[in-house]
Amino acid sequence: MSKRIDAVDLNVYYGNFLAVEGVNINIEPRSVTAFIGPSGCGKTTFLRTINRMHEVLPGARAEGRLLLDGENIYDPGVDPVTVRTMVGMVFQRPNPFPTMSIRDNILAGYKLNGTRMSKSTADGIVEKSLRGANLWEEVKDRLDKPGSGLSGGQQQRLCIARSIAVEPDVILMDEPCSALDPISTLAIEDLINELKDNYTVVIVTHNMQQAARVADKTAFFNIAGTGKPGKLIEYDETSVIFNNPSNKQTEDYVSGRFG
């Protein structure tokens, strides 16, 4: 169910512009890893290379190796769609499909792919995914209502339920709480803690307290200046990054003395 991620000398480009340079990182299965760093330093860009969502943008590409349980997803011939079925993603803003009900949103990964299933199987998946995302009690009576009618925090948990419904090995989260209030944020953070029992979770966040609360390990990215590529500066246990970082830049950033 859960896979390890290893990046080896990964360079990420937008056209000819080198956005992230030379990332080497080893992410353990069944763990939560947080990416922190200033805006524009390449956290999200690197995150999106893990499920090959990066190349959806015109001209965007990645060089180097990214291994999922030792298998390079950037080998020529690898179908990005296969990679994305193994690596799910939750976005910054909740994006349930507006034309679908809550139930259909959960089943979107199957329905959009034309998979046929019996009603009982589908019901099972819906309940399991919604329970997994701590949303079942709140929506079980209105599964046929549109997903866009939920509150922002519920929508985001609906999106998480939608990604775990297809049973991926890895879940990527791109600032999943930045559009949410503190209560919803807490609900999502609790959920992340439960998710790591089954999945490898990678989360990008601007909120350092959040990284400290949820992550086992933390990676600090930084950028030398405008137009320069972002780099992975330091990657260690979260407690080390926040209390005893070995790099001066990390120390400046986590202590708020940055820039």
Binding site: V56, V81, T82, T85, F97, T99, L112, N113, G149, R162
Partner: protein
């Protein structure tokens, strides 16, 4: 002018109520009514003087409108201040422009209803009869002896519906797929920019050129594959040819409106779908298109409404006949606009044109009703398909 101002100043009240300092220095609410009444009275006097014996209603209204706009400006600048007066002046000009724009619209609908509705109520048979066997003698009898109106325009209705339906079947898939290419695949490359350029050029093609083009294309196809005898050349004029002509006019409209609708579908939805491991074509057909469906459907309906009224290209490509032809692949067809045109230009009885005129007006009314219905359908579709926002 001066009269107007004086009237107002004489009538300006000093209310006994306690004054609110915030409303101090404002004209009374009813000032505009007073100015309007003054303008109407003065304009009536001017019109009567200028008109000699007769009285021109149109002239009266125009002079009254000008007097009102100027009078309001003068009154406001005296009673309040110049800034308020300028604001009101421009607001009045905007209203005047709006009313001016409404005049042709309302008068067209009025003219068609006034001329067409009595005929249609009197002889509803027009709707289910065609012109088969109707001769000049019938019309002379109608005009001279008051016999019931002969003939009808069922063939025109059938022709319009069949040709428009066929044109829709041809142009919607082409237009839809073109805009999908432009938005989802072309991504602003040289090829998609070229398509956009030519689609824009096509939007401006005169409709008669589209008719000639369709005629020429079908002629080439038929002479190449079937033969070029006189019988085969006769085959060129049919409903299908007219549908092709209308498609040339419809496709650019469909492409542009659909393209706009696809562009406003948030990229987040596409990414959400990709992130679930859904392939691109499935994402387009199951996520992007349903989300944009309301806009696309109303755009398509409006494109249909636009070509329903075309005359020239159908006259060139489908001709006109007096009988009802349901088969768009064989034989001439009459469309409603062509029917109207023929009835006006070539009355059935040249000596007695009134019955033809009445039929033409009735057909015009039906045509306008069809277009209005299409617009209504577009709105209903847009409502029905729109993504549901509520349910909280």
């Amino acid at each position: 002018m001066t009269t107007t101002k004086d009237t107002v100043q004489q009538r300006a009240p000093q209310t006994g109520r306690k004054k609110n300092s915030l409303t101090a220095g404002q004209m009374p609410r009813w000032t505009w009514i007073a100015v309007l009444a003054g303008a109407l009275v003065v304009a009536a006097g001017i019109t009567a003087l200028l008109g000699g014996g007769g009285f021109s209603w149109v002239g009266w209204l125009i002079i009254a409108a000008v007097l009102y706009v100027l009078g309001m400006y003068a009154t406001t600048s005296v009673l309040e201040n110049r800034r308020r007066a300028t604001d009101g002046f421009w607001r009045n000009l905007v209203w005047a422009a709006f009313i001016l724009a409404l005049i042709p619209l309302v008068s067209v609908i009025w003219a068609v209803i006034a001329n067409g509705l009595p005929t249609l109520i009197e002889t509803p048979q027009l709707l289910w009869r065609d012109m088969k066997g109707v001769t000049g003698a019938d019309d002379i009898a109608t005009q001279a002896e008051g016999a019931t109106l002969a003939g009808g325009f069922l063939h025109g209705l059938v022709g319009t519906l069949m040709i428009t339906l066929l044109a829709t079947i041809i142009s919607v898939p082409i237009g839809l797929l073109t805009s999908i290419y432009l938005v989802e695949y072309g991504r602003g490359g040289w090829f998609s920019r070229a398509i956009v350029f030519f689609v824009d050029v096509m939007t401006g093609i005169p409709s008669i050129v589209a008719g000639l083009f369709a005629f020429a294309v079908v002629q080439v196809v038929i002479t190449t594959f079937i033969g070029d005898g006189p019988r085969q050349l006769q085959m060129v004029k049919m409903g299908l040819t007219a549908a092709i002509a209308l498609s040339v006019l419809m496709i650019p409209v469909v492409v542009r409106s659909t393209e706009e609708m696809l562009r406003v579908v948030p990229n987040e939805l596409r990414e959400a779908s990709y992130a679930l491991g859904v392939r691109k074509w499935r994402t387009i057909f199951k996520v992007v298109l349903p989300t944009a469906m309301s806009g696309i459907a109303s755009g398509v309906t409006l494109a249909i409404a636009r070509v329903t009224g075309e005359t020239a290209p159908i006259l060139v490509t489908a001709g006109f006949i007096a009988t009802t032809n349901w088969n768009p692949f064989d034989g001439w067809m009459t469309a409603l606009p062509v029917y109207i045109y023929r009835q006006l230009i070539n009355p059935t009885a040249p000596a007695a044109g009134d019955p033809s005129m009445e039929r033409a007006w009735a057909a015009a009314l039906v045509l306008i009703v069809i277009v209005m219905l299409l617009n209504l359908i577009a709105r209903i579709i847009a409502k029905a398909f729109a993504p549901k926002k509520t349910g909280r």
